[in-house]
Amino acid sequence: MKRTWIQVVIAIVALAAIHVGIGLVPMPPFSVGVNLALFFTNLFVFYTAATVLRRRSARAVISFVAGYTALFVLILAVLNKPPLFILMVIAYAGVFGAPVLLGFFAIFVLSFVILQPFAFETFIPLSLIYSVYWLTRRKASRFARLCLCGGLLALTVVLFPLIHLGMQDSLQTLWHTFTRGDVASAIWLSFLTSTIATVALAIWAVPLAYALARIDFPGKRWVESIVDVPILVPQSVAGVALIVLLGPGSVLGSELERLGLPISGSLLGIIVAQVFVAAPFLVKTAMTAFESVPLQYELASRSLGASPAATFARISLPLASRGILVGATLAWARAVSEFGCIVLFASSPVTAPILVHTEFLRAGASESRPIAILLLIICLWVFVMLQFGQSMMPFALRGPRRGRRS
């Protein structure tokens, strides 16, 4: 007991000596006040460390000192911000005992001190990834968790432009932009056409996917590849192809125009282009969904007396509905985001991606930015809602209830 007190007194005296020493050098780096504040801070840190590090290994002590030194070098030596250093060091000493908090503290320092211009957009993803790493600690091996978090980190880097973009304008600016007539109508138009395109697509893509999942025929693999062609074809090529077939002056285009159904430069044109680019996403996803429904369910249903069509409607479709909904969501998202094909083939009326482009050409990045952010936020919101929606309604599209005559 007595010896401990002696150690403490020695340490305090040593600490005081260091600070007096700093104050006495010619051209001292701190004023007396700052030096005094630093002295008391260090006293606090020392006290906390002594509490936290009691009965801990030498490694813990060394890492504590290493962390302190890192903060010292970074904030005091490089950035020369004593008040920040005082705050950080006090926080550091406080969280050192709890490994979780220490991790968050490290991320905080990284984001707000080192990557200061991107403080929020780095702090939020990094702490989310760290939380995932921490929360999965009992569920998976360290290797799997490192794979996961490494991948998420790389994904953050890839998506960083979008995250950064989302932080650019104030809510006020966004609201002001949203209430602009052309912006609202472009976004509305984008959503309307994409929804119609998705429904139109589903009408033929879902049955096709079912057939592809159930029937084997020579050349089936070719058909499956052909379904993917719209992903493969550059959007500008698709746009030109559509113009050649349906554009003004083409045989089919002028014939349809005569019948009062102008394709190019109309709502219909936008929808045609969207169906073209979105088709593979729904067909492929729905096909996987149907393939995951065991064939035995269908055999059982048919042996019980349901026709193939009734079996499709009452067994296969409900059981594949989740997957189909996922596919429809992807297709919808692809349709909303379509630009290259529409800009060539049906650039008016103006959809949201086209508006971002024309605003950029007209007035540069600063003018198109709020529209881009708005579109980004709204699309993400709808996408997330649809994704959550499908997982929250396990019995969506449920078949007829018991006893009802069909």
């Binding site: 065991p294 035995q296 369910y297 055999l299 059982a300 249903s301 048919r302 042996s303 019980l304 007396g305 349901a306 026709s307 193939p308 009734a310 009452r314 067994i315 409900p318 059981l319 019995f395 449920r398 078949g399 007829p400 209830r401 018991r402 006893g403 009802r404 005559r405 069909s406």
Partner: protein, 261 residues
């Protein structure tokens, strides 16, 4: 009365060869054979999912060879019960009746009767996904029985069950069969099942029926070394049996079948 006349069915290197079988009303037939002998294919052919390349299937003298499965009235039960996971137990049992546009009151009456008969009352409120193998299989049997099938087809219904559940289901099946006088065709690779259930046993190998008779008959007088070996009889007996012209050991699938020697 169900009659199979010289059923032939082939795809790839696998084939059913001239299967003939007469199943009298109320009989319980067990088709016994090793995996890959074609017994499941035979069942699915009878149910209507494969078209035989030759031969006929007659139900009470009526040719159903070209009839679609949904118009055949064959109750099919799979190894994995294959209950519809998005429907309740009751909806599962009633499914066939709903599909056949039976009146609601009658559906309710039939389902209630089957629930009593197979003692499913306690299972009724439970989600299908939570049923144990044996429970699910009983519901599957009830579902197949609901349509009052001409023939109940059981495709290895107990292979996925543990020993005790299997015994219980055997007793249950035997009882229901007796009560309802159901014509049943039960496919299995287990000779215990065949011995316990089969008034009539047909042994199948390489797409042919090699021997038929009562379980006791087959057990005591196997026709050829293959049958004896499959039934687990003692080696000295196996050695004493005459092999077919094409030996069972070299080309088991080429056995000429019944009537060869």
């Amino acid at each position: 009365m169900i009659e199979l006349e010289n059923i032939r069915c082939s795809f790839g290197d696998f084939a059913l060869r001239d299967i003939s079988l007469r199943i009298a009303k109320g009989d319980y037939w067990v088709i016994l054979g090793p995996s890959g002998c074609g017994k499941s294919v035979l069942l699915q052919t009878i149910a209507g999912f494969f078209a035989p390349s030759r031969g006929r299937i007659l139900v009470d003298g009526r040719d159903v060879t070209a009839t679609a499965p949904e118009h055949r009235k064959m109750g099919l039960v799979f190894q994995q019960a294959a209950l519809f996971p998005h429907k309740s137990v009751r909806e599962n049992i009633a499914y066939g009746l709903g599909a056949r546009k039976v009146a609601r009151e009658e559906i309710d009456r039939t389902v209630d009767d089957l629930v009593d008969r197979l003692e499913l009352k306690t299972i009724l409120p439970r989600p299908v996904a939570t049923l144990s193998g044996g429970e699910a299989q009983r519901v599957a049997v009830a579902r197949a029985l609901a349509i009052k099938p001409d023939l109940l087809l059981l495709d290895e219904p107990m292979s996925a069950l543990d020993h005790n559940t299997r015994l219980e289901l055997q007793v249950e099946l035997a009882r229901v069969h007796k009560e309802l006088g159901l014509t049943t065709l039960h496919v299995t690779h287990s000779r215990e099942e065949a011995a316990a259930l089969g008034d009539h046993v047909a042994i199948m190998l390489g797409g042919r029926i090699v021997q038929r008779g009562s379980a006791a008959e087959v057990q005591s007088r196997p026709r050829c070394p293959f049958v004896a070996r499959f039934l687990g009889l003692n080696p000295s007996l196996i050695a004493s049996l005459p092999a077919c012209a094409h030996t069972c050991d070299e080309k088991p699938g080429e056995c000429v079948g019944e009537g060869a020697n």
